[in-house]
């Protein structure tokens, strides 16, 4: 019984691992292939099944003038837009979440929970609903096809995530912590900055992670709100496609684009597993 359990456990773990890792391995091998090795039947093992070459990778960094696609600029655009928008969203979101968690707002029948839900409802709406308003809005303030415009739009998209996560988190941080800080002589701002915020680092990390992921992977808004001046990575990768699909450079760019998220995941996992989520009062 016990042995069977262990066997099944490891069996499913192995199956799952293969399921998750195989596409990465596939992309990795494909990125070193040329036209012949991709289209000439199934091949897996470099040097045995096919002769690896670096063409797929070289194309990514070559300038278009030399026949390359140069994803370096879009890459840094994406990094800049995602990080800036996430940072601003986290700051604004955390402040709003703290207010929503600690103070009572009332405007007619609208109360704290309704305001929180309003934020979340922005994410329930299908993004396509927002495409035309955003387009017209950005064009009216001359921010179409610019990094600033994208950052503005991404803040709108990411802030609800931050608010949602942080309201939940602050609600779990007992009010007595704030009250104790006040009694100990902090003013409300100091109480927030010195006491509540340091206690909320795990929440901030989770919120930050979600913001970065959702900002980084967005294709839709990056696609409709930019043309030639600026390009973000997801758009650039899709643009790689042509009449002859360059599977090798597509694979290479896919791997490059997923790398930051993997790094973030490793850092965050380590932080969260330290058990810092445990409460301050018991």
């Amino acid at each position: 019984m016990n042995k069977l359990y262990i066997f099944l456990k490891y069996f499913f773990i192995v199956v799952w691992t293969v399921f998750v890792v195989a596409p990465f391995l596939w992309a990795l091998t494909t990125s070193f292939k040329d036209f012949q090795s991709v289209n000439g039947g199934v091949t897996y093992i470099p040097w045995v099944d096919f002769e690896p070459n670096l063409e797929g990778w070289k194309v990514l960094v070559k300038s278009p003038a030399k026949g390359g696609v140069d994803i370096i600029e879009p890459y840094f655009n994406s990094l800049f837009v995602t990080c800036t928008a996430s940072l601003i969203s986290i700051i604004l979101g955390t402040l709003s979440a703290y207010a929503l968690s600690r103070y009572t707002f009332k405007a007619g029948f609208v109360k704290n929970n309704d305001i929180t839900f309003f934020f979340i409802s922005q994410r329930i709406m299908p993004p396509i609903v927002l495409s035309i308003p955003f387009f017209l809005f950005l064009s009216s303030i001359n921010l179409l096809d610019s990094l600033t415009g994208l950052i503005v739009v991404y803040i709108v998209l990411l802030m609800p995530i931050a608010v949602w996560i942080m309201v939940d988190f602050f609600n779990k941080v007992p009010r007595e912590i704030d009250e104790t800080a006040l009694i100990d002589g902090c003013n409300p701002y100091q109480a927030f900055l010195k006491v509540v915020l340091p206690n909320s680092i795990p929440g901030l990390i989770v919120a930050g992670m979600f913001c970065i992921i959702f900002g980084w992977i967005d294709f839709f808004f990056a696609f409709i709100l930019t043309f030639t001046e600026v390009q973000l990575l997801p758009v650039k990768i899709v643009a790689l496609n042509s009449s002859v699909t360059p599977w090798w450079s597509l694979s290479a760019s896919a791997l490059v684009s997923v790398a930051p998220l993997i790094i973030v995941a490793f850092i965050v996992e380590r932080y969260l597993s330290k058990g810092n989520l445990s409460g301050a009062i018991k």
Binding site: I177, E179, D184, G185, N187, I201
Partner: protein, 357 residues
């Protein structure tokens, strides 16, 4: 360190309602500098609201609060220089024990050497010295509560230290020691201590003044002895003391005596100004003894059971329809089921409308 005056304070959590429910009915009270006070009452009677009003976390719907005759009603919590310890330990998770204890001083820009000196002295008192450099979140629940307590005691000049059932999470042995420590701290530093509890023993052993509350009302303020011997209301008589005060519903039959089950009981209370004849007679079990050679205030009872509770015996007996309890010394012989009990006239409290006459 300050004298705290609460004048005509009342509080409602829904003051704008046409029929507001009062968590605290209007009352006035003065807490003298350097005394130990206990606020005693059942859960939900407004004890915590009262503390929060003093510390400024709650603004009272009406009334003024004065610290040393200075009106602080509109002063923010952080400017009142007060310390409050909550029922459950509140610690700053991200700081070490030292930083936790030093936090109130840091917020008020104390010098490093002064902070060091105070933190070390408080840590010494609370047995936290060996933990000073460990992260506060690693400590056990009762050690965390000691930190909360320590943060309250670290400032010497606080107006008062308010404690809201602070020893709930602490085991009995340490509780006893801490209560003594608090007393010592109070005697040494002359800090005003206010201690909220629903445990009468805790209140009696800790405080020199007890404030008894019930349903948002301050029903009696006094020393443990006063509360025990002359409860102001039947509630206090019932709530304080174990067993509760004996209470007999009866009628006044003359200017100073009461009839219980056809026996006249003399009291030292003038009963000539009663509105109705309906009264309650209250007497502590501790004062009722088996009759020796007295010749008045004697009642014949049927003993129902005698419990030996270690240091005393508790007699439960029937007096007509009434149950009467008497605490006697352990070596008292209880002859048989019929006993004569003596009710001393000077210990009788007479209540009209549940209020002491």
């Amino acid at each position: 360190m300050a004298k705290i005056d609460l004048s005509n304070i009342s509080h409602s959590y829904n003051p704008n309602d046409p029929n507001p429910v009062y968590a605290l009915n209007p009352f006035s009270m003065t807490w003298e500098n350097g005394n130990r006070y206990a606020i005693l009452g059942p859960s939900g009677c407004g004890k915590t609201t009262m503390l929060n009003i003093v510390s400024g976390l709650v603004r009272p719907s009406a009334g003024r609060i004065l610290f040393d005759n200075k009106d602080v009603t509109d002063l923010k919590t952080e400017d009142r220089n007060i310390a409050q310890v909550f029922q459950f330990p509140v610690i700053y998770n991200t700081m070490t024990v030292y930083e936790n204890l030093a936090f109130p001083l840091k917020c008020r820009d104390f010098s490093k050497s002064k902070t060091d000196e105070r933190v070390n002295s408080v840590a010494e008192t609370l047995n936290l010295k060996s933990f000073l450099n460990s992260p506060a979140r690693k400590l056990t629940a009762d050690q965390k509560q000691l930190i909360s307590l320590g943060r309250g005691l670290v400032r010497e000049d606080v107006a008062a230290v308010l404690m809201d059932e602070p020893l709930t999470v602490i085991d009995p042995d340490l509780k006893f020691r801490l209560r003594r420590n608090l007393k010592e701290i109070n005697e040494q530093y002359k800090t005003t201590l206010v201690y909220v509890t629903h445990d009468q023993n805790e209140a009696m052993t800790f405080a020199d003044n007890i404030i008894v509350m019930s349903e948002g009302e301050v029903v009696q303020t006094g020393s443990p002895k006063e509360l025990f011997e002359r409860p102001n209301t039947t509630f206090v008589g019932y709530f304080i003391g174990s067993p509760a005060m004996n209470l007999f519903e009866s009628e006044a039959s003359s200017n100073d005596s009461v009839k219980i089950n056809n026996t006249l009981i003399k009291t030292h209370t003038n009963l000539s100004n009663l509105k109705t004849k309906k009264i309650k007679l209250g007497i502590r079990s501790e004062f009722i003894k088996i009759a020796q050679n007295q010749n008045e205030n004697l009642v014949d009872v049927n003993v129902e059971k005698v419990e030996d509770l270690g240091n005393y015996k508790l007699i439960t007996a029937k007096l007509g329809d009434f149950t009467i309890k008497s605490k006697v010394t352990r070596d008292t012989e209880i002859p048989n089921s019929k006993v004569k009990l003596h009710i001393p006239a000077d210990r009788c409290c007479v209540y009209e409308d549940n209020k002491l006459i």
